[in-house]
Amino acid sequence: MPRQPEFLGYHRPDGRIGVRNLLLVLSCGGLTGQTARRIAAAIRGAAVITMPYGAGLIGRDETVQLASLCGLAGHPNVGAVLLVGDNARLLAKVATHLTAIGKPHAAFSLDDCDHDALTLTDRGLRAAARLARQISGQQRAPAAVSALCLGLECGRSDPSSGLVANPLTGLIADRLVDAGGQAMIGETLEWMGAEHLLAARARTPDVAVALRDAVRAREGLAVAVGVDLLGNNPGPTNIASGLSSIEEKALGNIAKSGSRMFEGVIGYGESPPAPGLWAMDGAAYSPESLTGFVAAGAQLLLFTTGVGNSYASALAPTIKISANPTSARVLHEQLDFDASQAFLGRATLSDMADALFDEMLDIASGKASWGEILGEGDEVVSRFGPAL
């Protein structure tokens, strides 16, 4: 039996493995976003995430906000967290979660700081600096690839995405699933026209029903609000590059899920409860979709693009893959993996998959993706309804 491939990661007290050891400055409400950015800018290498909403979130939005804050703050790629916010009770809930999983953190509410952003900045920055020093001595150690959870995304797709980059990514998903890891697709709208193919790969009849129901709900939403998907999804860039309908886009899109069975459909930002391939029912826009994967615990994202898309996660290295020969020629500081040789018929998908899997493990072990080098990272949590 071949030895399972390994990478070098940070072993966390909760048993998960990080591929980065970030200090995260997390603003848990809309009043402290600039304070969080100011603090993060003063700490070399710090990541910053700002939640622009706060009091007034109700129902599913309130639930998702708390779950997402816990998922992002508790993420395995995060070594320590500075929490700032305007809601002391919300901060306490997130801090309680971080204590439970053994994640170093400090939390400051405006209530603790004379309701003044400058006082919060001063106290927060000093605490963040101490956290940064505390985690700076942590070392990477070997970990099995089965510890990896992969989010699979596409953005600014063109016909090369469905022909090459997405099937290539699907081969990586298959290899990781076969090794005992986790992989997730999202972007429910982009299953439309291909849901029968996904359902045919459902582990149980209930999973097949859930996959079809998720698409039916999105389709019903589009019809109810009178949106013509042509020009929305596929969007103008997709159309200019030759994609003519949501079905055509979806049939290319789902290739990145590979060929293994779907274990289940999970909600937005919800962690897959077991190894294998999962489908996350979520929004199709990349910032929301990626944050859903990251809040769920994905340490790495494979992101295919046709004409190019610089967007990246703040916490999970976002590996950009394109098979479009023109994109590969011009987007040197965006694309982490050039799959154009397979598009041109000069390399097989299987050979390219070997190279991409190696590149993924190198990035997991610390090699920087372009999005990290250029600081493109951001996180955006989906909203579901009106606020009070």
Binding site: D158, L163, V164, A222, S245, S259, T326
Partner: protein
């Protein structure tokens, strides 16, 4: 229909059809009106004349389609023709339309 998982293109082909039932192929380079194209479909190759200029990555009709006919790519329906489409014509949003989320 199983998903095609290994359809990397083959050097020398001008267009790619993914399944034998596909009535459109994707052009792998910009093509000019009147050009003879080699269309790769899995193990076989056929010839097709482009009736119009077609941009890189866009679709060419492999056969004559009538209004209402299903347009097939990946062996699956990607929409329907909303006008007659002759063999060799550009197939895109001007002459085909999604079957989904229509009121």
């Amino acid at each position: 229909m199983s998903m095609p998982m290994t359809h990397a293109t083959v050097a020398g082909a001008d267009a790619l059809a993914l399944q034998p039932t596909d009535n459109v192929a994707t052009v792998l380079r910009p093509v000019a009106a009147g050009e003879r194209l080699i269309v790769q479909c899995q193990g076989t190759r056929s010839e097709l004349t482009a009736m119009q200029a077609i941009p890189f990555g866009h679709k060419i009709s492999r056969q004559t389609l009538f209004e209402g006919d299903i347009v097939r790519k990946y062996g699956e329906a990607i929409g329907h023709a909303v006008a007659a489409i002759d063999q060799g014509m550009h197939v895109h949003v001007h002459n085909m339309r999604s079957n989904r989320a229509q009121r």
